[in-house]
Amino acid sequence: MAHADDKATGIGDLLQNVVAWPIRILFKLIDYPVTAIQNVIGIRRMPWLFLLPNLAFFGMFVIIPLFMNFAYSLTGGTELFISERPYTGGEQYGFLFDCDNYADPLSCREDRFWKGIFNTAVFIFFQVSFMVLFSLITALVLNREIRGRGFWRAVFFFPVLLSPVVVALIWKWILLRDGILNAFLVSIGLDRILFFVSPEWAMFWAVFVSIWAHMGFYTLILLAGLQAIQPDLYEAAEMDGTSKERVFFRITLPLLWPNMLVVIVLALIKGVQVFDEVYVLTGGGPGTATQFIVQYIYNTAFTNQVQNFGLASAASMVLGVVLFVLTLTQLAATRRRDND
């Protein structure tokens, strides 16, 4: 990792010199009380003291909320404080899942929830498949003997670091009615397209922009996987006169597959939670055409006239179950890759 890199020590020095001095003062301040505690409780109990702040944060902002989320989903009303909320049992879940026909969001009582689920499913299907495809192609291209590989890798990677808001605004500016893309369409003799008025185009650009922004991350993982493949395998194949297509399907793809699996599941986990870019780009519109499950939760709990925390929590639980399954899959996939 970092210790193999010359630059790493440079950065370490920089960090120590410029950023670390407030930390040093802080550490000095903490030194006396902590040493006093050590004298009382002894070294054997010290690890717990070091773990305490972190576990307190996890407890307060993750574990307690997780259980409270479940509790919320069993209550109704509009109060925020849970002691003031009436217990309603599984009513919120019943409301969410009250559908005549699960294949048709409009037949559900809470049609926005199901529209969100359907939209998310459509989004994930296209986003994950095309992102994995293009990440693979990009990684394969970058793995070839090309001049200035570091530069090319940076070209595909840099949007990963941009904030979702910036990404969305960059593309919104291009796609506006009088934007440069429409100017291009007009100049080659086509009609303008109102991209944010047509549901299909809005979904297309939501998928496109999110691939544009995140592809570099997955490319990097796949590239690392490609570079880990033994070169002598390729040399042996070349000596045997194996065709490039055959080499790809018989050597590259099978050996890369564990990494592909990790990438697919990671992309799924991120895809289920899609919100930021699309929210700024389309606002969920036109209508609810690009409204996803996280935006449904956000709207239900925080922006609608009636803040329905119970319903939002119930929807969060559904999302949580999906993510739980996906994360287990990811851990299994990662373990399989690292064992291979």
Binding site: M1, P47, F61, L161, S163, I170, L266, T334
Partner: protein
Amino acid sequence: MTDATQSPRSVKTLLGARRGRGKMHWTDVFTYCYLGFGLFLMFAPVVWLVLSSFKTPAGLQEFPPTFLPLGQISVEVDGYDEPLLLFDVTMEDGSVQQLAQVRRIGIMAQMVDPADPGERLQIPIASREPVREMRMAWENYRDPLERFNFMRYLWNSVIVTFAATMVTLLINSMAAYGLSIYEFRGRNAIMLFVIGTLMIPITVILVPVYLVVTNLGMINSLWAVILPGAATPTGVFLLRQYMLTIPRDLIEAARMDKASEWQIYWRVVMPLAMPAVAVLAIFSIMWRWNEFLWPLIVLNRSEVYTLQVGLNAFQGELDVQWHYILAMTVVTLIPVVIVFAFLQRFITTGIASSGMK
């Protein structure tokens, strides 16, 4: 990394570079087409953003848009107090002359030759084109920072990023130290617990974390953004893996010298773990600077907006002032570009080895 070790080659060998010794394979052509197209697709939108951010509101409304930010040239003409706008005028005999406009009446314009201001000419407006030069509208950057709250947003973002990164580094390195240096009952259980929290992203627990933050009286304060994400499982994991490689003898030697556990942590282990700490610091800075959904929920007053939330609020207004939005988007982009320019290699190795973002 082959690119660092390769000796310089001529352009000819660069264009001819390919795997193997045979003739040009279709994949070689594809590779360079793909790279060229990728360069355009990835960079052109950002270039377009930066160019557009220097255009005046009038320039932004032009359709089709001009490539560079342009402004019309005006000239001082003897006998007129104000500078006059300059036009290329196609005269009746077909020649083109540069004239300055005195005033416009309906479809006719009164114009003068700047070199010979005595004579006024009547020109139909259809036969003139404004003369323009590249002009940067710096006011797009100045105005929002002065008149609107953007300086405030910028400052809030800096505070959040800095404070959150400090807290993150402190508590996660402490936990990593506790989990790597000591052998104690329950260590594996704690590690499993920490990794388990990976499965609970903030999107799943928005409502109750909002309640916790409200209970702590932190709504509409920057603490509400700084604290909830401070403990990160990826951070603990990354630092612990690194600290495990630190030789135990060093720690034993420090104990012999009567160093307290806290002193061992910050005088021995932390300096040695700096490369990993630096990776986490960079990630934390990126996470916090770019964070959007959670600040959007807990920050509802304009004074506490971060840049991301402020930008979103600004672009959601009815009368969207794109010239300001584009400029502020560029401002938001700058720190990331700087970090990337200097630490690109470092970030990419960090991601490739840890698989985290």
